[in-house]
Symmetry: C2
Subunit: 142 residues, 2 copies
DNA sequence: GAAATAGTTTAGAATTATTATAAACAATAA
DNA sequence: TTATTGTTTATAATAATTCTAAACTATTTC
């Protein structure tokens, strides 16, 4: 309940009206203690089943894109089958388990900072992301 | 012409029959001096326009997937709008220019090797890929 | 507060990329 | 040369995402 006002403020601050649907989505995304990864489908299910709210798919898409644009979410690219989003928007990296198709955070502590010696002239580095694909030993690489 | 036999051999070696279509695709992909990035659409156009060959879309998809599986191609994930493939299958990384949507190789020389301190237990690291998003300074981050 | 406005949601249609299908065809093996 | 097995093709099917325009809601203005 107290979170609700925080979400309202958060939305207003970025020029998004705090509608019932957006607040529900905020609740699903930002009330869990731990950050997590999800697909649009996952999220729609969570909202329907756990929060007992039926939100139109188009709205879920709209909202997720708006949130991504505002920096409330990150999109993580791991394979071409699924689009994952991440509620952890801090600088971090990922393991992708090819056996289970699971995406696991790799904190910046678990990796030495990536040193880029040569950049494209005239451009600024906006982000550096490392994706580490893992599998059991006998597994073929994708 | 001499390349043709190399491609035939390459295909046979990996259990793929050297058909007219696959050889044309090999020509488009592996005869240029420099490696390059492409989408399925790009490739289909190149084959139609430059090599004056009409290959069914389904075959292009099939072949690209077969080649990827055999390690003749890599898929590069940069944004969710387009699926890029890379004829450079050596260990390397990428810059992605958000202004132009251009994908640029980042040789292993341009980046210090990534040191991963902590791995998932029981798993083997299959690949480590770094994606560096760049843009002109005033550009917003995607 | 009521009306005006600007932004949002919705169901369903449209679009797009990709994969499946099954018949015709081509490469290889016997 | 025939049989076998793999491949190509046009087209249909599927699936994810975006578009549309009408109904609705939050905010602003009076």
């Amino acid at each position: 309940m107290t979170n609700l006002n925080i979400y309202k403020e958060k939305l207003r601050q970025s020029g998004l009206r705090p509608t019932r649907q957006r607040l529900k989505i905020c609740e699903a995304l930002f009330s869990p203690e731990k950050t997590f990864h999800f697909t649009i489908n996952d999220l729609t299910k969570i909202i329907e089943e756990k929060l007992s709210e039926k939100i139109s798919l188009a709205t879920v898409y709209n909202t997720i894109h708006a949130f991504k644009k505002k920096g409330y979410l990150k999109e993580i690219l791991v394979n071409s089958d699924k689009r994952y989003f991440d509620t952890n928007v801090t600088e971090h990296h990922h393991f992708f388990d090819e056996d289970t198709n699971e995406l696991i955070d790799c904190s910046s502590d678990d990796i030495d900072s990536v040193n880029i010696k040569q950049n494209i002239t005239g451009k600024k580095i906006k982000s550096v992301e490392v994706l580490i694909k893992v599998a059991t030993d006998n597994q073929t690489q994708k």
